[in-house]
């Protein structure tokens, strides 16, 4: 009995903070549904003699997403998502780390064809590991020695991976040169 009461009290304390992100997610689902529906208008319906044309599934999923999004919004308005497991990890996000890791991925995507796989992935590793070190609260992350170690580690993972895929498996990955080694 006592256990139930503490549970309710906790929920109430967390409720105001927890709801707007849920509303955002629900609205996102709804908007994707609407966007897909708009896209579905342009898909012709000629069905041949099947009776079901290429626009059937797009309409079905658009409507399903709109219904799901609207329903979720209703859930948020009436107390929040149902049967929601508490998300693992901290209650608040460490956004600087998220930015580091995002930068790692986006920089890699932007540069990989220019600077090659090994350099691109080393850079990606460096930025990501720096962000993750900050998220883990490692104060030494900023030291030049740690940067040097991270660059070296990144290169030591990227280079063999590159050689394994290009030389052994003959899969094309972008290189700085055409040698297949760099």
């Amino acid at each position: 009995m006592q256990k139930e009461q503490t549970h309710v009290a906790l929920d109430e304390a967390e409720a105001p903070r927890a709801l707007w992100p849920q509303a955002l997610v629900a609205a996102g689902v709804l908007l994707i549904g609407v966007a897909l529906a708009i896209g579905a208008i342009g898909i012709p319906s000629q069905a041949g003699y099947g009776g079901v044309g290429p626009n059937f599934l797009p309409w079905l999923v658009s409507i399903a997403l709109i219904v799901c999004g609207a329903w979720m919004l209703w859930e948020v308005r009436s107390g929040g998502f149902r049967e929601l497991d508490e998300a693992p990890g901290a209650a608040r996000g460490h956004w600087p780390a998220f930015v580091w890791v995002s930068a790692a991925l986006l920089v890699n995507a932007a540069l990989i064809t220019t600077i090659g796989f090994i350099a691109g992935c080393t850079l990606c590793y460096l930025l990501a590991v720096q962000g993750l070190r900050r998220a883990a609260g490692q104060p030494q992350a900023n030291r030049p020695g740690v940067w040097a170690i991270d660059i070296l580690t990144g290169a030591l993972i990227s280079a063999p991976v590159y050689w394994m895929f290009t030389q052994f498996l003959a899969i094309n990955l972008p290189g700085l040169t055409r040698s297949g080694w760099l």
């Binding site: 999923v61 399903a64 997403l65 460490h94 990606c124 590793y125 993750l132």
Partner: protein
């Protein structure tokens, strides 16, 4: 006799030195990804899908199934030794396994998990060997309406039954179906949702979605929310089972196998239900009061042996619907289906006739793989445990390099890397708000197939959806789908009424 003959020729193909090597590498890699937090078998296979462009199909399928299998063995190591289980499949193992490890019996827990996985995996492989050809023979008689309804059943169970919230499961499934729509429509050749971007005409690669949702999302999530989560690790004791441990384990292995196998066979996926059922059964069936007292306290070995066996039996038996019907029931089998598709092969009843050599080599490699994994996991477990010492920042940053290989290697397009990031961000939100991911992957892979079957079915019915009611088999399947949707709700409602009445 035919089966034996076919199996023997399968062995002949599977134990060539090259294929044995692929099997060994797959099993070792699978164990490693099972042990390491952050990547599972689905994403490991997905990242390596680009090899389908170069490696012979038999070898790559043996390799991928080694990963699929090995991850199950490796996963139990992590769930016993770390105090935070990674995936749902090993959650149940973690309950008792962790307690055993805390009371100094980690070795016995690891041993019963490994031997149990071997026993269950082997028995389930025998069942695959014996039954898959019959299921295939039967499946030849199914027409588009039946196939469509089987796929609908898979969608229903994956999205509405397995997850907690049907609503979020349906949203995830719809998102997966929408992703599957992108590109050229299979039947009419009509472009859908391409937005004028030429890269999208070919559709979105399953690699991107799987690697984005699982690997990239995992890394972003770890940076955002889990930086300061510190896991404590239990100490490893000698991997050894006493006579009493053996006596308590073997009935649990067999029961676990008996519970897990049927769950794998039906297109309903998921290891959660069979592992929980096995755990509940073991807890109820234990007779000795001393053994019973160990449940939830010092850790009961039955509680590790049963669920581990159930887990492996389910995973192995899940190959039956995959190979004979072409219906995947989990993330990893969905990606295996994607691998077949990369070779232009559609798993289904014809697979046993058109690609008999491949299928039997694959099945034979499962036997070989199980033996390899037992050897890799029992004496060498100490080696795998060392992987847990890799610090999280370096591990997760390293995962991104492999994610890049998988995503870029498939189509050599930097555009895909941007898409990968976007999918990763969506994955973070899904994880944070408890959306299931399996419906996305299964919906994306199975969606276009289900759509084609639906359109063929309606064409058979000359434009009338009544075709689903007129054929006895499809009517039965339709009723099953409805039952699966309705039954849990009615049961829940009744339970609530009873609770109210009791109060």
């Amino acid at each position: 006799m035919d089966i034996l003959q076919a199996l023997l020729s399968g062995f002949a193909a599977a134990i060539t030195p090259v294929n044995l090597l692929w099997c060994l590498v797959g099993c070792a890699l699978g164990t490693a990804v099972g042990v390491l937090p952050g990547i599972g078998p689905a994403v490991a296979v997905a990242m390596l899908l680009p090899i389908t462009g170069k490696v012979d199909i038999t070898a790559s399928m043996i390799f991928f199934s080694g990963i699929y299998y090995g991850a199950m063995y490796g996963g139990s190591t992590t769930s016993i030794l770390l105090n935070t289980p990674g995936e749902t499949a090993s959650m149940v193992t973690a309950m008792e396994g962790n307690k055993m490890a805390k009371s100094g019996r980690a070795g016995a827990a690891l041993a019963t998990a490994a031997v149990g996985s071997f026993v269950a995996g082997t028995i389930a492989t025998v069942i695959v060997t014996l039954f898959a050809p019959f299921v295939a023979e039967f499946a030849v008689r199914l027409g588009p309406p039946e196939y469509f309804l089987l796929m609908l059943l898979a969608f229903t169970t994956v999205s509405a039954v397995l997850g907690k919230s049907t609503l979020r499961g349906m949203a995830a499934l719809s998102a997966g179906l929408a992703l599957g729509c992108i590109g050229l429509d299979q039947i009419s050749g009509q472009g859908r949702y391409t937005g004028g971007i030429p890269e999208l005409l070919d559709g979105i690669e399953i690699v991107l979605v799987a690697v984005g949702l699982f690997a990239v999302a995992e890394v972003l999530y770890a940076a955002l929310y889990e930086g300061r989560v510190h896991e404590s690790q239990n100490t490893l004791s000698r991997v050894h089972m006493s006579r009493r441990d053996w006596r308590r384990s073997w009935p649990a292995w067999l029961r676990g196998t008996a519970i897990g196998t049927p769950f794998g066979c039906i297109p309903a996926g998921g290891t959660e239900i069979p592992t929980f059922l096995s755990y509940a059964a073991e807890k109820r069936l234990v007779k000795d009061p001393a053994d019973r007292a160990e449940f939830g306290t010092a850790g009961a070995i039955e509680g590790v042996a049963g669920p581990e066996a159930a887990n492996n039996a389910t995973v192995t038996a899940a190959l039956i619907p995959l190979l004979t019907l072409g219906i995947p029931t989990s993330n990893t089998t969905a990606i295996l289906l994607g691998a077949f598709q990369n070779y232009g092969i559609q798993p289904g009843p014809q697979l046993f006739t058109t690609s008999a050599a491949l299928v039997w080599a694959l099945i034979a490699s499962l036997y070989v793989g199980n033996v390899m994994l037992l050897v890799l996991n029992l004496p060498m477990v100490g080696l795998w445990v060392k992987l847990l010492r890799i610090p999280k920042p370096q591990l997760f940053a390293g995962i991104l390099i492999f994610a890049t290989v998988g995503a870029y290697g498939m189509r050599q397009s930097a555009f895909d890397l941007f898409l990968l990031y976007a999918i990763g961000v969506v994955g973070v939100a899904m994880r944070r708000f408890d959306f299931p991911t399996a419906p996305v992957v299964v919906g994306m892979i199975l969606g276009p197939l289900a759509e084609a079957q639906l359109r063929n079915a309606i064409a058979i019915g000359e434009g009338s959806p009544m075709v689903f009611l007129q054929r006895p088999m499809s009517l039965v399947l339709l009723l099953i789908v409805v039952t699966v949707l309705v039954l849990p709700r009615v049961a829940g409602l009744l339970a609530r009424r009873r609770a109210v009445a009791a109060a």
